[in-house]
Amino acid sequence: MVLVTILALPLLGGAAIAVGRGRRASAWVAVATNGATLVLGILIAVRVVKDGPISGAWGVLRADALSVFMVIVIGAISLLASWLGIRTMAREQELENGSSVRSSHYGMLVQAFVGFMLLAVLAANVGVLWVAVEATTIVTAFLVGYRRTRGSLEASWKYIVICSVGIALAFLGTVFVYLAALHAGGHSAQALDWTSLMVHAHRFSPSLMRFAFALIVLGYGTKVGLAPMHSWLPDAHSQAPAPVSALMSGVLLTVAFYAILRFKAVTDVALGPGFARTLLVVVALLSLALAASLLITQRDYKRMLAYHSIEHMGLIALGAAAGIRLAIAAVLLHILGHGLAKSVLFLTSGEIMAAEGTSQIDGVRTLLARRPALGGVFGVGLVALLGLPPFSLFTSELVMVRAEFEVGLGWAAVLAMVAMVVIFIAVVGHARHMLLGPPTSSHLPAPPPRWVATPLIGGLAVCGFIGVFAWPLSGLLEAAARVVAS
């Protein structure tokens, strides 16, 4: 039942917004519900780690450690996003001279978005997972095109076309898995449940699973933003309202990756680790190289963050390629850390854009001197994203490198390191131009109100905390890793 509650919570928030016609109070209710999701997720996590997975809603939903971990990630980041979303809605209302219709639409869509992501990670069944992910595509399409500018329309068109094709391929892959499952003697009703897949996987036809997994990596990879179907990502992220970009980059990508992770577990049982590993390494290195090359001469800081996401997805894929338990744990930690840091950065960049009126890197100068709060958060967030301590991304990246070496993928780690150094050089150059330098004018603009600054700083603080202290997570990470890595 508790799982149903989790799914209900975001809808509750959406309903509140609908009822309150997007007034501030109702928005706060939504924030509260997302907070509740986080808390509930943590509670379930404790339970699941203690005494095994739980399922609900007539076996449609199932929560093992991995799903719960993803629930926590979604909860945390949706909390941040909806919190700053209040500001976005307020701005929207100003634009629409007071009418709160569209802002309430926005609020509801965001809640629905969160709800579908939760469904995706809690689904016990591959098909339901697929439906949920496709649904997120549709919902976010509206959110991306929310501004109705030419740019946002173009972005949402590209987004939905490319993602739908990708997801369709993923569906074909799912069909093949289903076929394999049926032939392996699964009963058609439960054949698509993760549990039964894992049970029967060793009897699946290898040739079919090869097709299936390749298509799934290609398809869900589109959603993850892995090369070669990544192209929608920079456009969508740069055009969507900041909280939406935060949600997409922070969780949507990783929710899609969660699917790949699950299927990888099945494939490894069916084919042995080799096949999935090769495929993922290729994709990962491709994405890393691409992100590195396109960050060098980047001119738009939101796109910069977007390509940075592609880089991190590549790293995660590389970690998953290694596949041993250590690596998977690192991947999950990375998912959480990247989610926090990246969403904070997108939210901050939204504030910066609202303040400076441009998303061009050349348009923003001497931020640290003029807007210490925003500039500081942005700078520290970049430090976190570049994988420097004390933030958790450093630890996870380090552990991933270790894992690569342990499974003999050291060469891939070396290439990844090269790409990361190039990215570091590029990003540092851009950040330097944006942040440093003397103040142009003497008077400082008003800093953002405390309730805006709090979640941003809080998010980074958490990211730093989990980078240094293990105890809150280690158990959960271990359990979650055990789910997909034998």
Binding site: N125, G127, V128, W130, V131, E134, A135, T137, I138, A141, F142, G145, R148, R150, G151, L153, E154, A155, S156, W157, K158, I160, V161, S164, V165, A168, F171, L172, V175, F176, Y178, L179, L182, H183, S188, A189, L192, S205, S207, L208, F211, P234, D235, S238, Q239, L294, T297, Q298, R299, D300, R303
Partner: protein, 219 residues
């Protein structure tokens, strides 16, 4: 029905799907293309019906009904209405012209048959033998997405990809559990709806555009 008629019916229906796909590649005027899409949807539904009758699978028949309703009727109608303003408009200068597209489609079909064979052999049934057709439809749909400029054409391409996959699904697994099938078609419907809304907005905002004029966003 007996085996031979079943197999011939199935082959006919599936073949129809593929033929429609090639035809779409060949046609230029949007109205006729939409008709073709409707035809393809119906053919797909027919495949489901034949399978359902053959396997006495009520769920499959229900799915067939859904498919026919959504892909054969609703979507084409909506498409027609969406491009109603200028349904006479044509794909005047495609990125890949018609002859080249047909050649390409031929190549794609060959590829589909080469790759689909292993799956077909695996499934083993008469239906399974037709899996390559599904894959071919998928590939041609993808090709349409790449090669055609008009927004409506991209929607059509998307539909074709979807039909191809649905066909494959029907042929090799006799369809998904009904609920999921429902969810899938619902998603497709929604996706197409969103795209149509978007294309309308595009037209409202900047008149009658080709998609490759949308190149503002890049590095």
């Amino acid at each position: 029905m007996n085996g031979s008629s079943y197999s011939s019916a199935l082959t006919l229906a599936a073949g129809a799907v593929l033929v429609c796909a090639v035809a779409i590649l060949w046609l230029a005027s949007i109205r006729s293309v939409i008709r073709m899409v409707a035809a393809q949807g119906l053919a797909l539904g027919l495949v489901a019906v034949v399978l359902g009758v053959h396997l006495h699978d009520a769920g499959l028949l229900a799915a067939a009904a859904v498919v026919i309703a959504v892909k054969g009727v609703v979507i084409p109608v909506l498409l027609g209405r969406a491009s109603g303003g200028n349904s006479g408009s044509r794909e005047s200068r495609p990125l890949v012209n018609v002859p080249a597209s047909l050649v390409a489609s031929a190549a794609l079909i060959v590829l589909a048959f080469v790759t689909g064979r292993s799956v077909a052999r695996f499934v083993g049934t008469t239906a399974g033998a037709l899996v390559p057709i599904g894959i071919a439809t998928l590939l041609i749909g993808f090709f349409v997405l790449v090669a055609r400029r008009r927004p409506t054409f991209q929607i059509v391409g998307l539909l074709m990809v979807d039909n191809g996959i649905a066909l494959t699904a029907f042929l090799c697994t006799a369809g998904f559990p009904f609920l999921i099938e429902l969810g899938v078609s619902f998603d497709v419907l929604l996706g197409v709806l969103v795209l149509m809304v978007l294309s309308q907005r595009l037209r409202i905002e900047f008149g009658d555009v080709d998609l490759d004029e949308l190149q503002e966003l890049h590095d």
